[in-house]
Symmetry: none
Subunit: 197 residues, 4 copies
DNA sequence: TATGAATGAGCATTCATTCAT
DNA sequence: AATGAATGAATGCTCATTCAT
């Protein structure tokens, strides 16, 4: 039965790769089967339809990000360390997964993912938001984050900046590690010139 | 000739609406024609193919954002006012346009948009990035933005935060105008508690 | 009213040229109109349909061959001269018309020409056969053609040889006028070596 | 693999029948499939397109005539016997095949057959001409055919007469076997009255 | 259980024809 | 009378899915 699951995952991996590479409609069941090294009919022994494969692949994707964020949030470390960990995401083999914000990911597939899965996925995303907000609130408790700013807005800033920064990093050839420090400093202190007395 | 262009735009609008609503593959030429109030054949008098309609609609979309940003950048106002204007985008009927970052938009359609148009679109995006960076540099000249932080990283922060904030706003039922102030303050000063002497 | 007929013929000529060049299905009404220098709608002022244009063009073609043969048959000249005239057909601007035997022509279009016109055309062809047979019979009366051979079979030989000879001539670069004599001799005396006494 | 070829041929036969009966454009893929007793999609498992089916059917047709002629030419029999065999073609189930001269056949489809196949077909035809000319030259060697007449012109006469004679035979209800003798005599000795001494 | 040959619903596209100007 | 923009019926082809082996 475990062997069955291994095979299933191989198919799902083929599918994920091809969906990412060529999109849903340009990916044919035959391609998936070929890449997974099985017959076309076999796919239907493990999945009800192409749609189901796609749905599962999507859930898998969003789940992986969710788990990643959840794991970080549950570490017994400081707010700052959690923030750093979140930003390192793309250095752990998850790069390609993180190239797209989960919400944008879902939105771009909203006409392809089965309706009920869209709901599931948004639940994951909503949960992720809560987790991020929890991290922010840990920062407030630690006296690092200003209590007066609503946590959801701070989460916005963190997530948005993080996403754009990822994109920048990916295309930047002269990316330097110190850029990471700069981005943290930016989040902490903003970009305005501080008037010294 | 102008009349011809009006009709053309009506068709393009129908198409845009349906593509946005149902995606490329679920949108049939017949649907587009029906919604535009013309015959199926008429579409082919104005466009070579479904693909061409889609490409044009995409370009139109990215162009509209590009123009919006460009216009703001060319205003004879302060850095701060330009920033404010960028953030108001979604209050001018462009909301639905701005619901997605252009890069994510292009990426989500990268398997559908014709290759040559993907290139065109990325040129627009690249130009938009430059425009935003220019605005940041105006801020530096005005002595408002810290010169030591690379402008592209600041742009990241602005664009990313802006995007996420838009999403938050759209789903927030109790959105208050003061939230706008909060987000600006966040960008300017970050979220860290400032130690007073 | 005569002017009307001139225009009509211009359209028919365009059509004939294009049908011959590209075939029925690759010839669009728009092409015919364009070549005739009129609007697409105008074609429908003069003809009921594309089919009608095609039918008329075909009839015109077969009629032209029929008339050519008929005219020759009615000349007040000897059998031999009539035969020579028939063979000269392709030297009078009718070459391209004669490149195909009318029967083959009709057969190759039997699925395109309207049924009632196929009938008409075969009547023309049948009449042409009779005319050729009449010419052969004139030859018999003149004591030149052997009376014992059925005239229709002789007509076969003349028409078939003539057709193939035309094809040969068209592709032959070193065609010499004396070839014409050879072919006549062949028809008259066959190809067998004659045993002299 | 052989089974696959049998099926393929069944489809090709359906297609050939329908193309012959109704022409290329009036023959729908669905009709071909229906007649072959397979699904529409199956046709595309065996052929790339309707065009490919048509091309193959044409090649098959011209090939069959070519082979027929080639086989006769390679028999170890006299010139006369080869000629007789050629004229019997239509008594061996090839009738319907021979109803049209291959050149006329190709010409009538020149706008439908793929260009590269037209070339292939004309190569077959050209080869057939050479074969016929070889037969004529055998006749010369045997001392039966007059050496002074160019062989290609004699071939013209044979092929042309043969073609027309076939047509006549097909429509003749009172066709008699002795007609065959008459036609041979005609080819050998022509139609002119011979002056006896 | 695994397979891939067979299937046919579904859709983009073409082009003869119409009709308002 | 002449036009050409608008039309939609008609059809080739794709590919997810089935099922006999």
């Amino acid at each position: 039965m475990d062997e069955k699951n291994i095979k299933r995952n191989e198919m799902l991996d083929s599918a994920r790769f091809l969906f990412k590479e060529n999109g849903f409609h340009k990916t044919k069941m035959e391609d998936i089967a070929l890449r997974a090294g099985v017959g076309k009919g076999t796919l239907y022994e493990y999945f009800r339809s192409k749609q189901e494969i796609f749905d599962e692949a999507c859930v898998e994707y969003v789940k992986s990000i969710h788990n990643y964020v959840k794991e970080i949030s549950e570490l017994d470390v400081s707010f700052k360390d959690k923030l750093v960990s979140l930003f390192k995401g793309n250095q752990n083999g998850l790069e390609e997964e993180f190239e797209k914000n989960p919400v944008d990911y879902i939105m771009s597939y909203k006409n392809i993912i089965s309706e009920k899965f869209v709901k599931t996925l948004f639940e994951y995303v909503s949960d992720m938001n809560k987790i991020i907000i929890n991290i922010v609130e840990q920062g407030k408790e630690e006296g690092i984050v200003i209590k007066e700013i609503p946590s959801d807005i701070i989460a916005c800033s963190i997530v948005g900046t993080m996403g754009e920064y990822f994109k920048l990093k990916m295309q930047k050839k002269d990316y330097a590690l110190k850029d990471d420090d700069i981005i943290f400093n930016l989040l902490y202190n903003g970009f305005s010139v501080k008037k010294e007395i």
